[in-house]
């Protein structure tokens, strides 16, 4: 932030500017009521906590530059939302009598959309689930909006129920499309940001051209031509940049989010933490304590909001030095960058051999070789049918004054129809080699 702030004064008394590598200047004007609300939300404890949660979890063990935070991402998402709202405001087709209110709620929602993430995001959710039957980060997001200091700010700003509605109701409005759709502010920011910080060169999104091509049009939402709703559409001149955007989405999943080594670290940490939870009484006796243990005892919102990536790293460091057995072993491996060993039996570019895969798993079970089965979920563009409820979630291309077509109809190869990937993770290279050997032997 460009200025330090006094402890209690949360609205900007003067204009505030944040430097950001993706958006350059993100400004908060002292004369703008929306900006004041957003600035105030930005200062809250739940949002500041996102400074200590990395956007890409363990990816910086593979892409050393990728240590950017969820805080930077939510700020960037809000800035993307501002640009999409500018499209709404310059458009003559769209006029909502409650625009002022919904604009504020939309911007607040983009700032808050990741506020429920726990340490290392999904890692924490998965590893604690058997112990606390915890909530998903989406459920925590709704709870944080309604039950913390954020609720008061939103209530004072007159947009509490509107902001919360983005996370617990479904509808189809342009505001909703900004917060959650196949071309939303979240995806636009994380693709641009993650590309920048990982250093990957493909997948550039020409944001200027994209926003210049965005329009709001009345769109037929089902076969009844009288049923029309306002929605974002992309002019034909923007078709190329939308294609680039989707290819970037598909490729980043492949190359970064589902990177085999990143997953190897994720499963290693899960093993270390699970072992630590099992030995918890012993560890406490030995003087090893952690806020994570306290959360397991009492999985309250208050304790959840105290947790961040540092708590996991601190516990791992303690386990590596003072822990015992598997917890110590796996924690040490993490600190020395020694992930679980991956074997992907089927070539991802050809049809998988299901029978052979079944035999391999059976063999590993018979030989009692520990392994983790991973079926990474690649993401792509999803096409919804015209009669489907979510038809307006398609990216719509404006062909002429009356015709809008879903992108998947114009560019069928972008519609996700990919084969499944299947990976096995092993604790040791020896076990991995045993699997490779068996795979080669079975015809």
């Amino acid at each position: 932030m460009s200025k330090s702030r006094p402890a209690k004064k949360k609205s900007p008394k003067s204009d505030q500017r944040v430097r950001d590598p993706i958006h350059n200047l993100i400004k908060f004007s002292s004369n703008d009521e929306d900006d004041q609300v957003l600035w105030e939300i930005l200062q809250t404890t739940p949002i500041q906590r996102l400074r200590r949660i990395k956007q890409l979890g363990f990816s910086d063990l593979i892409f050393p530059g990728a240590s950017h935070t969820r805080f930077a991402h939510v700020l960037g998402t809000m800035q993307m939302a501002r640009r999409m709202i500018a499209v709404l405001e310059r458009n003559k087709v769209f006029s909502d009598p409650n625009h002022k209110k919904w604009k504020r709620a939309t911007l607040a929602a983009t700032l808050l959309h990741d506020v429920g993430h726990g340490p290392y995001s999904h890692v924490f959710e998965e590893v604690t689930e058997p112990y606390v039957h915890g909530k998903s980060h989406e459920e925590y997001t709704s709870e944080i909006i309604r039950k913390t200091e954020i609720a008061k700010i939103l209530d004072n700003a007159g947009v509490l129920s509107e902001t919360a509605s983005f996370f617990d109701k479904e509808d189809q409005t342009p505001y909703r499309a900004i917060v959650s759709s196949q071309l939303d502010a979240d995806r636009l920011d994380f693709l641009s940001r993650d590309r920048y910080f990982t250093g990957i060169r493909f997948g550039h999104i020409d944001l200027e051209w994209l926003f210049d091509s965005l329009r709001i049009e009345q769109v037929q939402s089902d076969f009844d031509s009288s049923s029309k709703r306002p929605m974002f559409v992309v002019e034909q001149k923007g078709l190329g940049v939308v294609e680039e955007y989707l290819l970037s989405y598909i490729n980043l999943y492949e190359s970064v989010y589902l990177h085999k080594t990143t997953r190897g670290f994720q499963f290693l940490i899960q093993l270390a933490l699970s072992s630590a939870f099992e030995q918890r009484a012993e560890l406490t006796k030995a003087g090893i304590d952690s806020p994570i243990f306290r959360y397991l005892d009492n999985p309250s919102l208050e304790l959840y909001l105290h947790l961040d990536d540092y708590d996991i790293l601190n516990l791992i460091k303690l386990l590596a030095t003072q822990g015992k057995g598997d917890a110590k072993k796996f924690a040490s491996r993490f600190l020395n960058r020694n992930p679980l060993k991956c074997f992907e039996p089927n070539d991802p570019n050809s049809v998988p051999n299901h029978e052979k895969t079944g035999l391999l798993i059976q063999h590993l079970k018979e030989k009692e070789i520990w392994h983790h089965e991973d079926i990474p979920q690649a993401k792509g563009y999803k096409q919804y049918e015209i009669m489907e409820e979510h038809y307006l979630k398609n990216i719509l291309i404006k062909i002429d004054k009356t015709t809008k077509m879903p992108l998947g109809q114009l560019r069928p190869w972008l519609v996700r129809n990919t084969g499944k990937r299947f990976r096995l993770y092993f604790k040791t290279e020896t076990d991995r080699q045993k699997a490779i050997k068996f795979w080669a032997k079975v015809s």
Binding site: K169, E170, G408
Partner: protein
């Protein structure tokens, strides 16, 4: 029963030995769970109603290992892709299925996916100990456009059947028969 077994049992029970749509499979199994069948699958409410990672993962694993087939078929007016799960043609039923379970799945399979979605959402709230009225109200709040007219009526019909199945399953369990 494990999620994978529950999926196999469901596919064995339908007339066609297949289920069209990931969402449909999710909802059928959620309703079977509401009907009292012990299925090891945790559900939470998502955009399209109750969703279970255990079921999604179980189906993926069964497909990867060839125990079920997973095809992307072009369906509907515009021919968009939909996932179809089926049992391989050359195999017999891979799992013993009780006639009660089979009847329940066949009953559910007569309804559309959107009716199952609404019913399973109501069922999910009922399982969280909300009263029926409150469960319907919460579902309406979540899905205002889907809980209108005939869809809601059909969903209530499903819920009614599920509730009576639950009593039956509980009775069988208590008598040990």
């Amino acid at each position: 029963m494990e999620a994978k077994q529950a999926i196999l049992a469901t596919l064995s029970s339908t007339d066609t030995r297949e289920v069209t749509g990931k969402k449909r499979l999710q909802k059928i199994l959620r309703l079977a769970k509401s009907a009292g069948y012990k299925i090891d699958a945790d559900y939470s409410i998502r955009q399209f109603g109750p969703f279970s990672n255990d079921i999604a993962y179980g189906a993926d694993l069964l497909a990867i290992t060839g125990q079920i087939e997973e095809q992307e078929r072009q369906l509907g007016a515009a021919g968009f892709f939909t996932t179809v799960y089926s049992l391989p043609h050359d195999t017999r039923s891979p799992i013993d299925v009780s006639s009660d379970f089979r009847d329940l799945i066949r009953f559910l399979d007569r309804y559309t996916t959107v009716e199952l979605e609404v019913a399973s959402t109501i069922g999910h709230f009922l399982d969280m100990d909300y009263e029926l009225k409150k469960s319907v109200h919460k579902t309406k709040e979540l899905k205002p456009s889907k809980t209108k007219g005939a869809i809601l009526e059909k969903a209530k019909e499903i819920v009614e059947q599920i509730t009576s199945s639950k009593e039956k399953v509980a009775q069988i369990r208590s008598t040990g028969s």
